[in-house]
């Protein structure tokens, strides 16, 4: 018996043969008693398995599932970031028409970054809500600062993330709230970034591992992180965020491109 006969037998069991293939298999089985025996056994097995009754589900199963879902939703109540509106307002305020405001750019950026740490309760923006703005552009500064900000709304993870690149450093600030362990992976696809410091002001559990261009954080409960990377090059470095819980449930790229003014 060769592989193609095995394949035909298997597919005949699964009702997957064309009429031509069925004729071919019949011919094979006539010539090969061993193959015919195997085919008979497998058909017998299929009949036996088909005779096994499907078990009725317990009557309370559905209500138990819905109760668990309701309980989980209560414990994963979202606590998004108040920075959202602040950044939007700042961006409008520092529009090019207001040239005098450019001088305050650095101060604004500092305020914005400080606000990023203030995670006050608010209404969660929609899943796709996103703001990218350039803050603090000024002729008097040697570099601009670009902030990429995103609130990620996943049913089991409340994650808010702000990425800011400034001369010599990249800051990643985010919060995560999930009763189950959530693994987040930050990958830097370019540049020369080195992990510098890490702070968790939340009250959950977390573990951090960093190697080469990859930072891995496992978070359980409510955590608020600030991670700082030293950056010794002028290359732009996109940050790829992957969230696993336990499989990959979200992936997104955050640009941290900087412009150096002459």
């Amino acid at each position: 018996m060769n592989d193609s006969e095995y394949e035909l037998i298997q597919r005949s069991i699964d009702g997957d043969l064309t009429p031509e293939e069925k004729l071919l298999l019949d011919e094979c089985l006539r010539k090969d008693p061993e193959a015919a025996r195997l085919a008979n056994r497998l058909r017998g097995l299929t009949r036996s398995l088909a005779d096994v009754q499907r078990v009725e589900v317990p009557g309370e199963l559905k209500s138990a599932i819905l109760s668990r879902i309701a309980a989980r939703r209560r414990t994963t109540a979202v606590e998004p970031v108040s920075l959202w509106d602040s950044l939007r307002n700042l961006k409008r305020f520092f529009a090019p028409d207001y040239g005098w405001a450019f001088a305050l750019g650095a101060v604004s950026a500092a305020i914005a970054l400080t606000l990023a740490l203030d995670w006050s309760p608010n209404t969660l923006p929609s899943d796709s809500s996103q703001l990218r703005g350039t803050i603090g552009l000024s002729d008097s500064f040697t570099a601009s600062v670009e902030v990429s900000r995103k609130t990620i709304s996943l049913p089991q993870v409340s994650a808010s993330l702000a990425v800011a690149a400034e001369p010599g450093a990249v800051l990643v600030q985010f919060q995560c709230d999930s009763p189950d362990p959530v693994r987040m992976e930050f990958i830097f696809d370019a540049g020369d970034l080195a992990f510098a410091s890490y702070d968790n002001s939340g009250f959950g559990q977390s573990a951090l591992a960093c190697e080469d261009n990859r930072l891995q954080l496992t978070s359980t409960g409510a955590n608020k992180y600030t991670v700082r990377f030293d950056d010794n090059t002028d290359q732009p470095s996109d940050i790829i965020l992957k969230i696993y819980s336990p499989e990959l449930i979200h992936q997104e790229t955050f640009p941290t491109q900087r412009k150096t003014d002459d």
Binding site: V55, V57, I65
Partner: protein, 181 residues
Amino acid sequence: MSEYGDQELVKDCLNGNTEAFGELIDRYQKPIFNVALRFVNDYDEAQDITQTTFVRAFERLAGFRSELKFFSWLYRIAVNEALNTVKRLRTKEELTEIAGGTPTPEESLCRSELETNIEEALMELQIDYRMAIVMRHFADLSYREMSFVLDIPVKTVKSRLFSARRLLCDILMQRGILAYE
């Protein structure tokens, strides 16, 4: 709501209609429960796997890709949960011990001698083989669907299924459930 397709129910659910998720539970709790039951051969564990599967599905619904079939996606979660359960139970011996315990009234009502033999024979198979048999014969998945659910190539699905069937035949023949000829 029963005339709704799965995709519409998922969409409704994402729009905040939890009743739509209840409809999805109605549709798939029985097949998921039966798959779990054949996999772990324990009524309580099967209930727990089913519950966790739906809770996980609800939590991950926003990540569900509409080009997938909902039930394939659900089975994939169920397989992972079942594997986690098996890991937790650690060894085949522990599972066999559970299987040999006193059946619940519900189990007693549902079991025939054939079913008992098949359940026990399934538990003698390696996990991968058992899962292949369960997915094909109890979940009625196609090769392609099994490929997605088990996260293996179609070619591997076929070879694994073939090996699993032959091994199960041997076990059932030894038990006198299947004829040698």
